[in-house]
Amino acid sequence: MTQPTKKPTPQGGLTRRNVLKGGAAMAGLAAGSDIIRGFPTVWAQNIKDVTLNHTGQSYSTLIDIARQASADLGFKVEMSVTDHPGMTNRIVNDPTSIDIADTEIWQTKVFVPLGKTQCVDVKRITSWDKMTPLYTQGVFAGNEVSRQGDSPYEIMYRESRDATSFHDGPTEWATFMPGVYNADTLGIRPDLVGREISSWGDLLDPAFAGKAAIQNIPAIGIMDAIMALESAGHVKYVDKGNLTREEIDQTIGKLIEFKKAGHWRALWNTFDESVNLMASGEVVIQSMWSPAVTAVKAQGVQCVYQPLKEGYRGWGNGLALMGHLEGIRLDAAYEYLNWYVSGWVGGFIAKQGYYISVPETAKAHLTDNEWGFFYDGKAATDVITSPTGEKTNEAGEVRDGGSYEERFSKVGVWNCLMDEAEYQYAKWNEFNAA
């Protein structure tokens, strides 16, 4: 690891300045920070009085995690859920309303240049060495991870605590602490598709006209579209993670063609919509997130998260520390981050199909059967349940796509923010309107 060029300034000075900058907006702490403002040396405030706000998107910002954290840590962790645009908007325009930002990889490209977060000091994360190299080194199972799209390694490091650009190669300052991640693919109704599904291109098969859906979240929906269009031979891309204007035009043009031909039953906006579309049989093949597949199965409806030959669409989240955190609140935040990768969270989210950045700690929080099913790709020896206890798989079943290693070795492209994002979003709007 390279040494950071700039040593962090001693705690006291930074602390005081940042408080004066107007941080610590949390109502409950207003009184506490007033004391600090006048007398920086007074650290009488007890860590038990701290309340941390963890803000993120619905799929990873789960109230169960906050409850468990509050119980284990002794101070209070609150969750607030927002959607993708809401998340970037909150971080940029109301940064002090958040303490821990649970963001997607590509979202860091929006707020890091604006200096809204401080880096995570990797020395203060005790299990940093055990983090998956997927994030920390850009390799997985010995092979380099796909760089099409925003792979986690590319945004992982910065030069100093408050740097506003990314650094190529490891430093001691991480943009965020790696959190949950997964490899996404298409969801299908095996009882209704009536044939083998093996490629992203199958999403565009005329046989599924009026029975296919794609997600209406521009940043992610377009990735599914790109995978499908390339595989079906409609469009050729140079870099699927960074389209040129011409490629965007072609992509959206094709999507509109399919829309006008009545191919799409719906464009879904929210997780529950995708669950309902699938469970009701309105749609038989569509973009899907892993917990949505779990939710459909929990209703007793057959649903497969189908591995496809072109590989998965990878995504990942991390926990970023907001710039205003300091002193005892920063200490609490580091305690929370360390707790987050200490096992409980990993065990909990494994049951909705996600992986955690420090897999080995999750092992202690899963039964041998669950670990074998979710991580090792082994046949379940007993029923597998969702985080809330509903049965999702029978004994003898194998996870769709196989083991952790098998699935993540086949990531073809990452969720991303393209250079032509502005143009891409405007064009996506045309797809909506057409």
Partner: protein, 287 residues
């Protein structure tokens, strides 16, 4: 003495003026100001004075299409809610003899509003879906052999939801106007030899104009400002002018979103002005 009354008048107007200043004029002025700012990708807004946002919007055929489709929905919904609102109010005011029953029935109209907007809208899905109530009924009685796809995730579904959500906004003002019509006037018209339709056309309709105009303003602003109903009920297959604003916000493009908002405000104001030109609400209310 005269000066004194003037002062008192100003003082009387002041609270309302302050409220409007604080909650209408200032925010609107900010939106207008931002609409001329420059957008820098991923950074947000940069103070500037440029017409680029307006040029972007007006030179893009998609936006024209979006406005066209929004206005199409507005006109359709306006027509349906007017017909429903007018006849429901007519029935309540002139056909139900007992005032208590009329008020009771009027309250029944508001029952759906005891639940949230979203629930009322989402509840159409199991009714209209491919495997929904209507389709299974039609299939059972043999009226169709394939489920009707256009019931859900279509313009039809959007209109159904709008009508369901917004008809009450038509009923209330029209009911209010009609309730102020002296029943003796109708008797006199009948006595003078007017037909049933003649009375409706020549007496009731003109005297309900204020209510119709106010109801129309409600419906127009609600439909033009919507992006959620349309996105949910069309399954994301249709957009509205407002959904363009929402999409812009997804990547922090406040300047263009503000410019879209300004254009939308201008269009809505123009429609409202046209409605109020047809009906002088102030005069009618003063009567």
């Amino acid at each position: 003495m005269k000066k004194n009354t003037l002062l008192i008048t100003y003082l009387q107007v002041a609270p309302l003026f302050l409220v409007l200043l604080l909650f209408v004029i200032v925010p609107l002025a900010l939106v207008v100001a931002v609409s001329f700012f420059r957008y820098q990708v991923l950074v947000g807004l940069v103070p500037d004075f440029t017409f680029k946002n307006y040029v972007d919007i007006l030179s893009n055929s998609t936006n024209w299409w979006l406005y066209f489709s929004t206005i199409k929905f507005t006109v359709i919904v306006l027509a349906i809610t007017f017909v429903l609102g007018f006849w429901i109010s007519y029935f309540l005011v002139f056909h139900v003899r007992n005032l208590l029953t009329a008020i009771g029935l009027f309250l029944v109209c508001t029952v759906p509003f005891w639940t949230s907007n979203i629930i009322r809208m989402i509840s159409w899905r199991p009714v209209l879906g491919r495997e929904g109530l209507i389709n299974s009924a039609l299939l059972k009685i043999g009226a169709v052999d394939q489920p009707l796809e256009w019931l859900l995730f279509s313009d039809f579904a959007v209109v159904v939801a709008y009508v369901h959500l917004f008809t009450l906004f038509m009923i209330v003002p029209i009911f209010n106007s009609m309730a102020r019509i002296d029943p003796a006037l109708l008797e006199a018209a009948y006595d003078g030899g007017a037909s049933r339709w003649g009375v409706v056309w020549n007496v009731v309709l003109p005297l309900s104009k204020t209510g119709i105009a106010l109801g129309a303003v409600f419906v127009v602003t609600l439909v033009m400002g919507d992006f959620f109903v349309i996105s949910v009920m069309s399954g994301g297959l249709s957009g509205s002018a407002t959904s363009g604003i929402f999409n812009d916000l997804q990547f922090l493009n406040y300047p263009r979103a503000a410019a879209s908002a300004v254009i939308l405000v201008i269009i809505v104001l123009m429609i409202a002005a046209a409605i109020f030109r047809l009906v002088d609400v102030r005069r009618e209310l003063a009567q």
